[in-house]
Amino acid sequence: MIKVKNISKAFDGIKVLNQISTVFDKGKTNLIIGQSGSGKTVFIKCLLGLIESDSGYIEFDNKAFNTMSIKERSILRQEVGMVFQGSALFDSMTVEENIMFPMQMFTNKEESEVRDQANIVIKRVNLINANEKYPDEISGGMKKRVAIARAIVMNPKYLFCDEPNSGLDPKTAILIDNLIQEITEEYNITTVINTHDMNSVMEIGKKIVFLQNGKKAWEGTKEDIFNTDNKAVSNFVYSSDLFKKVREVYLKT
C-alpha cells in the first residue's frame, strides 16, 4: 500500500501538483487519469523520488519515503518495478539481457539461474522468439512486454506504469492492460498506472484517481465513474460518443 499526503510540486513558480492526497491499495490496479498536462507523470515521478516534491508525505507500507536516506531509497527501489511510457529499454542489450539486468545487478545468482528466471518471466508475458533481438528490432507492443518483464523479474512489491498502452493498437493495448492486471493479482503487487486511455479505465480501473490542473478532482472505482455527477470527470471520461453510449447502456441496466 502506498499512502500519499498533500504532495505539491511547482516548476518555475507554476504549480504542477497541488496538495494531492490518496491511498493506492495492495493487489489492485490503481489508475491515475487526467488530461495531458494534468500532472500525472510528475506525480508518478514524485512517488518514485525521480522528482523531489516540494512538500507532502509519501509512505510505502508504513515506511516514510521522504525522510529515507539515499541508501534506504536504493534498497526500497529494488522492490519497485517501473514501466516507462517509451519502455526505456537499454539499447545496447538484447531482450533477454534487458530482463536479466536487474538480477545480475542485485543478486548473486549463477548466470544460468538468472537466464532461467528471465525465461520464466519472458514466457509469462508471452514474448515469443525475441530473446536475442535488440529493442529496435521489435514492435511497440513487444517493447512494452519486455518492459513489464524487466519490471516484474525481481518480484517487486510495487509496480508503476506510465501510460503503458500509449501508441499501441486497441487490441494490443487491452492485452497489455489485462497482463498488468493479471500480474498485479498474481503477485499481490501495489500497481499504480498513469493513463488517459478510457478503455484501460473500463477494463482494469479498480481504483481511479482523476487529476485536473494538478489537483485531485475525483476518486473512486470504475463502477462509481458511471454514476458520478462530478462534471470534470464526466467531461473527461465521456468526451467520446462511444463512452456516452456505454454509460447510457450501463445506467439503463
Binding site: 515521478k45 518514485l48 525521480l50 539515499i70 541508501k71 531509497r73 536504493s74 534498497i75 526500497l76 527501489r77 529494488q78 519497485v80 518495478g81 517501473m82 516507462f84 511510457q85 517509451g86 526505456a88 529499454l89 537499454f90 539499447d91 536487474p102 545480475q104 545487478m105 542485485f106 508503476f160
Partner: protein, 233 residues
C-alpha cells in the same frame, strides 16, 4: 556529480564489462583517427620546418629537433585532446543524453542504481588509458616527420635520427603525460555532465554535444596554459 561518481559502486561484474566496452569504444576506437592525423601532421610540421630553415649554416638535424619538440610538447597532448573532445566527447554526451531523453537513466535510478557511477566511472577508468593514445600519437607524429623528410629529400635518415636525440629533456615527456592525465579526466567528465543533465528531445542531444565540445575544448586550452606555466616556467 564527481562525489557521486565515486559513491555507491556498481557490482564489479557489471562494471568490468562497462569498462571494457568503454576502452574498446573510447580508446581502441580512437586509435585509427589519431594515428592518421598524427602521421600526416608530423609530416607537415617537418616539411614546414625544413622550408623555413633557409640558412645553410643551420644544421639539417634541427628539422627533426623542431618536429620532436612540436609533437611532444603541444601537438600530441593538446591538439589530439581537442580532436578527442570532438570524437570521444560528443560520443559520451550523445550516448548519455540519449539515455536521458529515452528515460533509460530514470529506469536505472528506479532500480536503485547509482547512475553517476554506472555511467561516468567506467569512462573515467577507460580514459585513464588515454596517455597510451598520446604515446602512439607522439611516435607516429615523429615517424611521419621522418618519412616526409627522408623520402622528401629534406634530410638524410642519419641527420633526422641525430636531430630527434638532440638536447633531449626527459621531463618534456613527463610534462606531456601530466597534461594528458588532466585532459583525460576532462574528456570523461565534462561531456558526461552535459549528457547527464541535458533536458529536451533528440534535437537537444545534438545541441548538448556541441556545447560539450566547446566547453571541453575551452577547459583543455585553459588547463594547457595553466599547466605549462606551472611545470615549464
Amino acid at each position: 556529480m564527481i562525489q557521486s561518481v565515486f559513491g555507491k559502486f556498481t557490482k564489479w561484474n557489471i562494471l568490468k564489462q562497462l569498462i571494457l566496452k568503454d576502452i574498446d569504444v573510447l580508446i581502441i576506437g580512437s586509435l585509427g583517427i589519431v594515428s592518421f592525423i598524427s602521421f600526416f601532421v608530423g609530416g607537415v610540421v617537418s616539411i614546414q620546418t625544413a622550408l623555413n630553415l633557409e640558412n645553410p649554416l643551420l644544421p639539417k638535424n634541427l628539422i627533426a629537433f623542431a618536429t620532436r619538440q612540436s609533437v611532444i610538447l603541444e601537438f600530441a597532448p593538446t591538439f589530439i585532446s581537442i580532436i578527442m573532445a570532438g570524437k570521444v566527447g560528443s560520443y559520451i554526451t550523445s550516448s548519455i543524453g540519449t539515455m536521458r531523453v529515452t528515460e533509460q537513466i530514470d529506469a536505472l535510478e528506479v532500480m536503485g542504481i547509482n547512475t553517476y557511477n554506472y555511467l561516468v566511472f567506467p569512462k573515467i577508468i577507460a580514459l585513464s588509458l588515454y596517455p597510451l593514445v598520446i604515446c602512439a600519437s607522439m611516435f607516429l607524429g615523429i615517424f611521419g616527420g621522418y618519412i616526409a623528410c627522408v623520402y622528401g629529400g629534406w634530410t638524410t635518415s642519419g641527420e633526422f635520427i641525430e636531430g630527434i636525440q638532440l638536447d633531449f629533456i626527459p621531463f618534456h615527456v613527463t610534462y606531456a603525460f601530466i597534461k594528458t592525465g588532466f585532459f583525460s579526466f576532462v574528456l570523461a567528465t565534462i561531456p558526461s555532465f552535459h549528457g547527464y543533465f541535458m533536458t529536451g528531445g533528440a534535437l537537444d542531444v545534438g545541441k548538448a554535444s556541441t556545447v560539450s565540445f566547446v566547453w571541453t575544448s575551452v577547459v583543455i586550452i585553459l588547463l594547457n596554459y595553466l599547466l605549462t606555466q606551472l611545470l615549464l616556467t
